[in-house]
Amino acid sequence: MDVAAAIIFGTEIWMGIGALVAVVFLIWGIDQIDEDAQGAYVFRPLLIPGILLIWPLVLWRWSVLTQGRDAEQTRYRPNRRIHGRIALAMPVVLGLVIVVGLSARQQWPGDIAPVQLADP
């Protein structure tokens, strides 16, 4: 199995586990941890893609909420300092990417005349 096939196989496994988590969570778990979801069913299919993609995070939060370990105070602490770091990082990263990308252009051999290798 080459790397590309292995990546696809790994993705299928990931999605398969995500599908199992989605079934159990959306049918049973969500009602246990969120009162706003009780009796609300139409919106649940919208959550399936998210669960498929980030099911480990879903399992972690599900466990935290089920065990009552959620720190209520931290809900109101936005990480504002990160904006400053992003503001500094953006020009550096974007500038570097553009400069390196454009300076590493491959030159197409446009000035070489075509050669017929065989009769048509």
Binding site: D2, V3, A4, A5, I7, I8, I33, D34, E35, D36, A37, Q38, G39, A40, V42, F43, L46, L47, P49, G50, L52, L53, I54, L57, V58, R61, L65, D70, E72, Q73, T74, R75, Y76, R77, P78, N79, R80, R81, I82, H83, G84, I86, A87, L88, A89, M90, P91, V93, L94, G95, V97, I98, V100, G101, L102, A104, R105, Q106
Partner: protein
């Protein structure tokens, strides 16, 4: 707001916002495909499939650029706040446009062989050890995956479930996605350009995103408070406009919004429980402040959303030191009622 979840919480403003988005996307694609094909220049003849792929790819890049400009613009001037109001729908639409671009690519470049299309995409170019000719496709795959995760976790349920700080951290990945898109374009389509108009537009977009973020960060610079302050000064009580707030930075990095309603002051956390929007930039009407980002409301005397909603934010204690208002930096638990601080005598003494 909460109560029972529904698929999409529409209101007239969101209809308007989304209609403008869809018209904008349609207009961009029409201009790209039918009005300016010569100006945008495709140096080698291309078929409609590739032309469509480029149109949707360019559209996704421009949309992502606009999305990333909205945040700093709203911090620079409140007039841009309406753009922030429904940015999640903007993001979801961007994901669909990017997905369409990927669909056209897979449906043309990898459609005519017996092997799996995704497998073909991942194995067509594996020159990861060199800069020139680096497989630019992988940058696009990374960006698309991130955009899909962000779109898939955009429902209000995810905000409550993950908590706003975790949700925000997850959605900060949009910056990684943008850097990946920039690399995808720089190593991809730009290598094919002899007409430099597209290159100039592309660099201008990236510079705009970086520049606006720097500008917004500079506005926040220099705001600091002592680490061990007991009660912090907010300012002169009479200088706070009726129905408005003064926002003060606390030693722990949080912000408190001190509101005046008539002859009394109340203080709540500045971060909305929904997406941590700036409550202090909202107006108080009948004890309720409305978050300027998404319209969530809170009673400023107890930090609670009006029934039947259940959101709560922390409250803070206030006291006067002469005409100055002081705030206790230790927050009360979310939803704790605090008696408003009367400043009637100060207002009467003010000419």
């Amino acid at each position: 707001m909460s109560v029972k979840y529904i698929p999409v919480q529409w209101n007239p403003n969101k209809w308007l916002y989304d209609a403008a988005l869809i018209v904008g996307v349609g207009l961009f694609l029409w201009v790209f495909l039918y009005v300016t094909p010569e100006t945008l220049s495709h140096d080698f003849p291309i078929n409609p499939q590739i032309h469509n792929a480029r149109a949707f790819g360019a559209c996704a890049f421009v949309m992502l650029t606009v999305i990333l400009c909205i945040g700093p613009l709203a911090r620079i001037h409140p007039r841009f706040l309406p753009l922030l109001y429904n940015r999640r729908h903007f993001g979801v639409l961007t994901s669909f446009v990017a997905l369409t671009h990927a669909g056209y690519i897979l449906g043309w470049y990898f459609a005519f062989s017996p092997s799996d299309r995704i497998e073909g995409l991942l194995s067509a170019n594996t020159s990861y050890a060199q800069i020139a000719g680096f497989p630019f496709e992988i940058f696009g795959v990374v960006a698309l995956l991130i955009l899909l995760v962000l779109a898939a976790t955009s429902h209000d349920f995810w905000l409550k479930f993950l908590t706003p700080p975790v949700w925000k951290r997850l959605h900060l990945a949009v910056y990684v996605a943008y850097a990946a898109v920039v690399a995808h374009v720089a190593w991809g389509i730009l290598l094919d350009q002899q007409n430099h108009l597209v290159t100039v537009i592309f660099i201008a977009c990236a510079a705009l995103v970086a520049g606006l973020h720097l500008w917004a960060a500079l506005l926040d610079r220099g705001v600091s408070v002592p680490d061990d302050a007991a009660w912090l000064p907010v300012g002169d009580a009479t200088e706070i406009a009726d129905g408005r707030a003064r926002i003060t930075l606390l030693p722990d990095g949080n912000r408190v919004a001190v509101f005046r309603q008539g002859q009394a002051l109340s203080a709540i956390a500045n971060a909305c429980a929904h997406q941590n929007g700036p409550l202090g930039e909202g107006r108080v009407i009948d004890c309720l402040v409305t978050c300027p980002w998404h319209g969530f409301q809170y009673d400023v005397t107890n930090g609670r959303s009006p029934a039947p909603f259940t959101e709560k934010v922390p409250t803070y204690n206030l006291r006067l030191d002469g005409p100055r208002v002081l705030v206790d930096p230790k927050a009360n638990p979310p939803g704790t009622p605090v008696e408003p601080l009367s400043i009637a005598h100060l207002l009467e003494a003010t000419p």
